[in-house]
């Protein structure tokens, strides 16, 4: 008779296989992003390529918000604050860094050359700084619930915006910049005028690599024990705690995860626009992201992808309506909330819906 430990060990897959399985989705993600950048982007023309880029950034931002709002049920309306912080950190590194190390304000180097590596470093720096702030915002959530937490996140977002507006002027003369060290330039973030002339490193490749990585991680989180802890906190915090969930830790982890990707999203956003205006990343931007999450379906990954796509593409399609565009958008929002309160996907994923299963069943039947 084998002991329990031996039987468990026999059932456990080979470590090499499990490491391989965990890497495969990321390799596929990078390959897909490369294909989108190389073939889809040029094929659909400049206008649609830009919309595709916006969709990717929206998926990244709304997907990260979904972890806090959808999974953990902690209503956050200060997500743009994390974007702003991440964007500033990345813009500081790439703009001043380019001048210091490459001697240019433009993009530098080719595909995955020095310039782009600096940009990737900027995105990660932006993510890390936003994640640190996520701890700071996650901590009040230990004491507050529901709307009150939402209001604190709102306050946080507004404070970040004002702090951005009172930073020092951004020197644009290369000679002036070179006279100061990177550390001395840390407060020269442009103030109320915003940070401008950020080199335009953001391409479809980087946006979709980050978006796919987020989606894979969000999927893994959702079906892991950590993710189920978050879902339990969402459903009933007291019951979750009674079941042994460390609700405090679960909520802070959700905030940190979410803030990291919001910071990365903010970096991509800044390097796409070439400018970072604190007024643009205020309360209304946070609300835009909440709308994507609610319309898509709180907690549903496929819902977020659909919601982000629809809410970015539709206003572009209706651009010719000019004055009436936003009115139609507002009415549509109200109608969706009245007619389909759970959002497009509800809490389900695409592969969990009955329609999908039916289609799959037919497909399998046909294959036999």
């Amino acid at each position: 008779m084998k002991s329990v430990q031996e039987r468990v060990a026999a059932l456990r897959p080979n470590p090499a296989v499990s490491i391989g399985q965990s890497i495969v989705p990321f390799v596929v993600a990078i390959a897909l992003a490369f294909l989108i950048d190389k073939f889809v982007g040029p094929a659909i023309g400049a206008t649609w390529a830009k919309i595709l880029l916006d969709v990717g950034i929206a998926i990244l931002l709304a997907g990260s918000l979904n972890v806090v709002n959808g999974y953990a049920g902690q209503f956050s309306i200060g997500h743009a604050g994390f974007m702003l912080v991440g964007g500033y950190a990345a813009a500081w590194l790439t703009f001043y860094g380019s001048v210091h190390w490459f001697g240019t304000k433009e993009t530098y180097g080719g595909f995955l050359g020095d310039g782009q590596l600096l940009f990737v470093g900027g995105c990660i720096l932006g993510g890390i700084i936003a994640a640190l702030l996520g701890v700071l915002v996650g901590l009040p959530s230990l004491r507050l619930r529901g709307d009150y937490l939402a209001i604190v996140t709102l306050g946080f977002g507004e404070i970040v915006r004002v702090l951005g507006q009172i930073t020092d002027r951004q020197p644009k003369n290369m000679k002036v910049i070179k006279e100061q060290t990177m550390g001395e330039l840390a407060n020269n973030l442009g103030g109320a005028e915003g940070f401008s002339q950020i080199p335009g490193y953001t391409t479809l490749f980087f946006v979709y690599v980050m978006a796919f990585v987020l989606l894979v991680l969000a999927y893994r989180l959702k079906y892991s024990s950590k993710g189920r802890e978050l879902l339990a906190v969402r459903e009933n915090e007291i019951a979750a705690e009674a079941m042994g969930v460390d609700t405090t830790r679960a909520k802070v982890v959700a905030f940190v995860f979410s803030a990291f990707f919001a910071g990365v999203g903010g970096s991509l956003y800044a390097h796409q626009l070439g400018a970072l205006d604190p007024k643009e990343l205020g309360f209304m931007k946070s609300i835009d992201l909440v709308i994507i999450v609610v319309i898509g379906g709180m907690g549903s990954i496929t819902g977020i992808v659909l919601g982000a796509t629809i809410l970015v593409v539709l206003p572009e399609v209706f651009r010719s309506f000019a004055d009436y565009r936003m009115i139609v958008y507002a009415l549509a929002l109200v109608m969706v909330m009245i007619l389909r309160p759970q959002g497009i996907m509800g809490v389900q994923e695409l592969w969990e819906t009955s329609l999908w299963r039916k289609l799959l069943g037919k497909f399998r039947g046909a294959a036999k």
């Binding site: 009150y148 209001i151 507004e158 004002v162 007291i238 709180m298 004055d323 109200v334 009245i338």
Partner: protein
């Protein structure tokens, strides 16, 4: 700089703070009434404030009362008419957008409120409505100097704001605590189901709540527009005004009428009073001049961290 901090300066700052606080109180009451009864943040409230200012402009120009020679009764008439129009607007919005969602999750109502807010902002921008250029209604009435104390001019608009707020808050307080309808409102706020079993007409109570809140918002909008430019309805300054009033309602204890007034005074105190004296204390640091929003949202976070239900709010314990 310290020489400027005289007694006159103190008086001037106090008057400013009271006037701003009164304005916030008027708007905060609308948030607090709706939250107390329906438990959702009515994001469209700040747009009713904006529309209040613009409707007042439309009414006043309709009567030809803008500019010199407008009669003394112009402002009261415009104020009353605007309050009535906005009350009707508020009730209509509730009937069409919020009532179908009475039983839905609160987040849905919240998003609907954002939808209504965007709708009002963008309809207001249309040329057939108010357009996208700023205007002004300050010519509706002359901002007379009523008295001069120690070199400080007591101006009509400031005094009127303080007085009008005082009257409206006292009236509302009496309405909520002394009338049958007010008792119905408090009953619905306490428990909607039990209240309706006791014969309270919930739909009527909600309609009255929206009418009251929107009328106060209209008054707030007019008073704001008298002292500032009348910006286009989609301008972010309206959203910020609404946010600050909402913060006041939360700080005071949302759902509580007296709390909203107290919270508004606290918010105005840090925004006007503290701000003025911090600037005076650090004359060599120009960036402290932009910190007022930080005080407002900072005090919000501090209050919520130490007393999550607000200054005058009741703490509720969730029972398992």
């Amino acid at each position: 700089m310290s020489s400027s901090l005289t007694a006159g300066d103190l008086l001037q700052t106090t008057i400013n703070f009271l006037a701003v606080g009164g304005l916030y109180a008027l708007i905060a009451l609308g948030y607090t009434l709706v939250y107390g009864i329906l438990r959702f943040i009515n994001f469209a409230h700040s747009d009713i404030v904006a529309w209040g200012g613009w409707i007042a402009l439309t009414v006043a120009s309709g009567f030809g009362w803008l500019g010199a020679g407008s009669p003394a009764f112009a402002l009261p008439v415009v104020l009353l008419m605007t309050m009535v129009i906005c009350a009707v607007m508020g009730v209509t919005i509730e009937r069409l957008a919020y009532r179908p969602l009475r039983k839905a999750p609160r987040l849905n109502v919240l998003i609907t409120a954002i939808g209504v807010s965007l709708f009002l902002q963008n309809v207001g921008l249309l040329k057939k409505f108010f357009g996208n250029r700023p205007s002004t209604i300050s010519s509706l009435m002359e901002n007379k100097v009523l008295a001069t104390i120690g070199g400080v001019q007591l101006r009509l608009f400031d005094m009127m704001t303080i007085l009008l707020t005082l009257i409206l808050v006292i009236l509302l307080e009496r309405f909520v605590y002394r009338t049958k309808m007010g008792r119905g409102m408090r009953a619905v706020a306490f428990d909607e189901r039990v209240a309706s079993l006791m014969g309270v007409n919930v739909n009527q109570v909600v309609a009255v709540t929206f009418a009251l809140g929107s009328a106060l918002a209209a008054a707030g909008g007019i008073l704001f527009a008298l002292r500032n430019d009348l910006r286009m309805t989609a301008d972010s300054s309206w959203v910020l005004l609404g946010l600050k009033a909402f913060v006041a309602a939360v700080v005071g204890g949302i759902g509580n009428v007296r709390g909203a007034a107290a919270g508004a005074m606290l918010i105005a105190f840090v925004e006007v009073f503290v701000h003025r004296y911090v600037i005076a204390a650090f004359p060599d640091k120009p960036w402290v001049g932009q910190l007022q929003d930080i005080y407002v949202f900072g005090i919000l976070i501090l209050v919520l961290l130490f007393k999550p239900s607000g200054l005058l709010g009741k703490t509720t314990v969730e029972k398992v």
